[in-house]
């Protein structure tokens, strides 16, 4: 179904009109320090572009995603932690901007679900196994 995702992306494309301005300084250029660049890249992959159809800012062509990449790289270069940048963005755009839903009352069921599924599954599977004779 990937092709439909591509189709949807393309449908959304006109929504991000272009300014014809050059991209922000660090939108498409890496940081000099590979460790910091890796840190920035890891963070960018978990931040949602706010004008695209479900893409992280690390793989979006939208200008705004470029501006967000620039912001992330600038702040990482200045020594800010990934978590603090994420928090800063969440304070502005809400949980929507993070692909990693922070644990809260609303997201608790989501994070508990995998464990619950495993437990229920194991309990169900038990029925298929022979009881080991106690002798």
């Amino acid at each position: 179904m990937k092709w439909l995702a591509i189709l949807l992306l393309a449908l959304a494309a006109p929504a991000f009109a272009d300014s014809n301005q050059p991209p922000a300084p660090l939108a498409n250029v890496q940081l000099k320090d590979p460790a910091k660049e890796a840190q920035a890249q890891a963070l960018m992959l978990t931040l949602r572009c706010v004008v695209c159809q479900g893409q992280s800012i690390a793989d979006s062509n939208a200008e705004m995603a470029g501006d967000m990449r620039s912001l992330v790289r600038t702040r990482i270069a200045a020594g800010e932690s990934s978590q603090s940048i994420r928090d800063w963005l969440i304070a502005r755009y809400g949980d929507y901007v993070s692909y990693d839903p922070p644990l809260s009352a609303t997201t608790a069921p989501l994070w508990i679900a995998p464990l619950a599924l495993l437990a229920i599954g194991a309990w169900l599977a038990r029925a298929s196994f022979k009881r080991r004779r106690s002798s």
């Binding site: 591509i6 479900g54 609303t106 495993l118 196994f129 080991r132």
Partner: protein, 650 residues
């Protein structure tokens, strides 16, 4: 005329589906009554079902071919063609464009459904006769719903009067050979699973669930699963080279929609094996067949309803969405209701020892189903959260954290499973047989960990992939290779494919090197072992696009010979779109992936360069899995034929 003929074919096919449903229902009902069971007309009614199913499938196929014909001729008096095609398109995309839109892809869906039903009617010989008729009835019921959907709300043959001079064109992102291959493949997989569903419904109606039923169902599940595997693999590669950022899986709802049926079908494939060989997991197998098709339908629905895509809303069509939702509710709700009513009367199958092949297969089913549950919940959770008034995104970090460990546990079970004996085994013996794979896992773990910068998930992924690769060929160890049945080779190859694919994913995550620069002509850039120089940019003209093309001269190391890559930035006029066409150099140990971006206004061009070591293993592994499935299918069919021949001669 062609369009009208296509519409007529659709109407006739729908009428035949109704007839097929009525005949099958009547036949099964009559044969269940002792007084009528041996009546001649009961036999006649049941005998009529198969030919009807065949003709219905043929008519659906005819409608699809007529739609393709209309697209190929660029007949702009047909609304769908005018909206989605353009006479300047290359022929390949005219033809593929027939399913590059909502109506056409739904027609393809129902065509495959009809053809699959016809195939069952023609080819299935081992299933109990009453169960087969009930199965064909279930298949007709599904088809009927989708014919209604097409005829009442998505007619692909609607005319446009007056006809425009030319059409709107096909979305340029879809103008790729991928469109010709990926959707039909995935659809055959999606819809092929409907056969498993119909089998399960048929078996629930006739209460005939046992090893014979499982043996009859297995090739059909296997067939659908092969196509699902191919479809997902192809889709991943298509997205990888088309979207231009080097990603191959985004945990996008639409991708998840294709992954979920695959997970369910994989679980089904293994539980069918347990049912076929050891007469266990009866209710569970029926359940999985229903779940697998539910996921196919859910995928079809999610993609079309638009309820899960975000930000800027695009055309959400509530009529169509609710129509598919209603079909989904009727079929899945109905099947699960039948399951609840009937499964109590299905005899409990055998139970097993925990340490045994069966035990490992049950663990496999458990883990696959848990992953399926995680993907399903993660995909739909944003809707739930919206109910609480929260806008939420669930993406890669969640799926990696939640499903990643379960998937790695599954890999460990996969490695151990084929080394276990059926019925009963001991932990000590298994551990002894597992020495080599465990040792390899440990060694790779230590070696990769010594590199220092690899994250936990890819590190474990690589180590387990190495262990799994060794373990998966173990069933061939010390065996007479010529007497080993084909389906054992199939299993070995499929498991090996998973190991290969996993290794590719881990390598890409751990070792990819990126160089993102604003490049000046003539200035060399380094990425991984390559030196890349932008030689220049020139315009090129294609059949229905124009492009700016960069020439990159690339040299590997200091002494390698120079080769050229030509990434493009393409401009399409119908409709107006810009796409970036990546240029990829494939080497035995990975791919160099290059993309041309925008100029920065000072004579520099944005270049995105990635060196992705062993990334190709991801799709090579996927192909191996599918090939393994094909071998296994072939092996099963040959074995079944030999069985028949033996019966005949006895």
């Amino acid at each position: 005329m062609l369009a009208e003929a296509g519409l007529a074919a659709l109407w006739f096919a729908a009428a035949l589906a109704l007839l097929q449903l009525v005949l099958a229902g009547l036949g099964v009902w009559r044969s269940a009554k002792p007084a009528l069971a041996h009546d001649v007309s009961t036999a006649e009614i049941m005998a009529a079902v198969r030919p009807v199913a065949v003709v219905q499938g043929a008519l659906a196929l005819a409608a699809m071919l007529l739609l393709i014909w209309v697209f190929a001729r660029s007949d702009m008096s047909v609304l769908l063609v005018a909206q989605n095609s353009h006479s300047d398109k290359p022929m390949l995309y005219k033809v593929a464009g027939a399913w590059g839109n909502h109506e056409g892809s739904m027609l393809l869906w129902v065509t495959i459904l009809g053809v699959a039903g016809a195939a069952v009617a023609l080819l299935e010989r081992s299933l109990d006769r009453r169960t087969l008729i009930a199965t064909l009835g279930a298949q007709a019921a599904i088809a009927l719903g989708f014919y209604a959907f097409l005829l009442f709300s998505s007619n692909p043959f609607a005319r446009l009067n007056p006809a425009p001079a030319d059409g709107n064109g096909l979305n340029p992102l879809l103008q790729d050979p991928g469109l010709a291959f990926h959707p039909p493949t995935l659809y055959i997989g999606y819809v092929g699973i409907s056969i498993a569903f119909s089998f399960a419904v048929g078996a629930m109606i006739t209460r005939d669930v046992g090893p014979a039923f499982a043996r009859a169902m297995r090739p059909w599940v296997l067939g659908a699963w092969i196509f699902l595997t191919l479809g997902i693999t192809a889709g991943s590669y298509w997205a990888y080279y088309e979207l231009g950022w080097g990603g191959w899986w985004f945990w996008d709802p639409v991708e998840n929609a294709s992954l979920m049926p695959w997970l369910a079908a994989t679980a089904l494939l293994h539980s069918v094996s347990v049912l076929a060989t050891r007469d266990g997991l009866r209710a569970w197998t029926l359940m999985l067949a229903v779940v697998a098709f539910s996921m196919s339908m859910l995928g079809t629905f999610l993609v079309r309803s638009g309820i899960l895509t975000s930000v800027h809303a695009f055309a959400v069509d509530p009529t169509r969405g609710s129509f598919i939702l209603a079909l989904l509710a009727i079929y899945i709700g109905g099947a699960l209701l039948l399951f609840a009513l009937r499964v109590g009367t299905v005899k409990q199958g055998n139970t097993f020892d925990f340490v045994s092949r069966e035990g490992a297969l049950i663990a496999n089913n458990l883990l696959l189903t848990v992953i399926l549950g995680i993907v399903l919940i993660g995909t739909l959770y944003p809707i739930v959260a919206a109910g609480f008034g929260t806008q939420l995104s669930v993406g890669a970090p969640f799926f990696d954290k939640a499903a990643g460990p379960v998937a790695l546990a599954l890999v460990a079970v996969m490695a151990a499973g084929p080394m276990l004996r059926w019925r009963r085994d001991t932990a000590e013996a298994v551990l002894k047989r597992m020495t080599l794979p465990v040792a390899v896992t440990g060694i790779v773990l230590i070696l990769v960990a010594m590199l220092g910068h690899v994250a936990v998930l890819p590190l474990l992924g690589l180590a387990l992939a190495a262990g799994l690769a060794v373990a998966s060929v173990a069933p061939l160890w010390m065996r007479n290779l010529r007497r080993t049945p084909l389906f054992t080779y199939g299993m070995v190859l499929a498991h090996l494919g998973i190991a290969v694919s996993l290794a590719g994913m881990a390598c890409d995550t751990a070792f990819t090197q990126a160089t993102l620069v604003a490049a000046r002509v003539g200035v060399a850039q380094r990425v991984g072992p390559f030196t890349v120089t932008l030689d220049g940019i020139k315009p090129v003209i294609g059949p229905n696009w124009s492009a700016l093309e960069a020439r990159l001269s690339v040299r590997r190391g200091e002494t390698g010979s120079v080769f050229y890559l030509r990434p493009q930035s393409r401009f399409f006029a119908n409709p107006v779109t810009v796409t970036s066409e990546s240029a990829i150099a494939t080497r035995w140990d990975g791919q160099l992936y290059t993309v041309l971006g925008e100029p920065d206004g000072t004579g520099r061009w944005q270049l995105r360069l990635w060196w992705k070591p062993f990334v190709t293993l991801i799709w090579f592994g996927g192909a191996l899995v599918a090939l393994g499935g094909a071998l296994s299918l072939l092996g099963r069919l040959l074995r079944a034929r030999q069985g028949k021949l033996r019966e005949g001669s006895a």
